[in-house]
Amino acid sequence: MVLLDNSNFILRLEKIANAAKKDSSFTVTFKRYDGNNKPVPRAGRPPLPKPDVYTCLVRAQCKSQKISTVVRQEDVPTMMGMYSQFMKSKMDGLKRVKKVKSKAKATKG
């Protein structure tokens, strides 16, 4: 697992998406992250410290290649802008739905 910063993550994700285009797939996971990398202690032990501000952990995987990034609260708008751009450019294999033009109206008018 490689921890990258936000913009590098998107760049690597684009590469992964290109590689996965032919015959494989990739996954992206979003999860709340509280900054602790330890498991939750057993009952009776002091609990892990709680952060003031939570962050969001984003992980991506294709086959055995794994990358991740942490998105802070102030970076959310820029990150989501980049991510939606990525979705538009790389997730383009979906079916296009044709808009039904009302021909009857056109001929009448």
Binding site: F30, R32, Y33
Partner: protein, 77 residues
């Protein structure tokens, strides 16, 4: 592993599940180009809801729900 047919139902289920247990929820999307679909999955290790998106207009909705969720995840509460 239930696939929800209706987008609105999925959206509501995702929101409720996240609000009930934000710390354990994870939201995954899997894109398969050769099959032309996106699989969305929300789970809190107990329950799990899924949605299969195959049409282009779904992409806009996915974008919206994703940025909504990330906004919730990276916040003070």
């Amino acid at each position: 592993m239930v696939f929800v047919k209706n987008w609105e139902d999925f959206e509501i289920a995702v929101e409720n599940m996240y609000m009930a247990n934000p710390q354990n929820c994870r939201y995954t999307m899997k894109y398969v180009h050769s099959k032309g679909h996106i699989l969305l999955k929300m789970t809190d290790n107990v329950k799990c809801v899924q949605y299969k998106a195959e049409n282009m207009p779904d992409l806009k909705k996915i974008e919206k729900i994703t940025s909504n969720l990330v906004g919730h995840m990276a916040s003070k509460e």
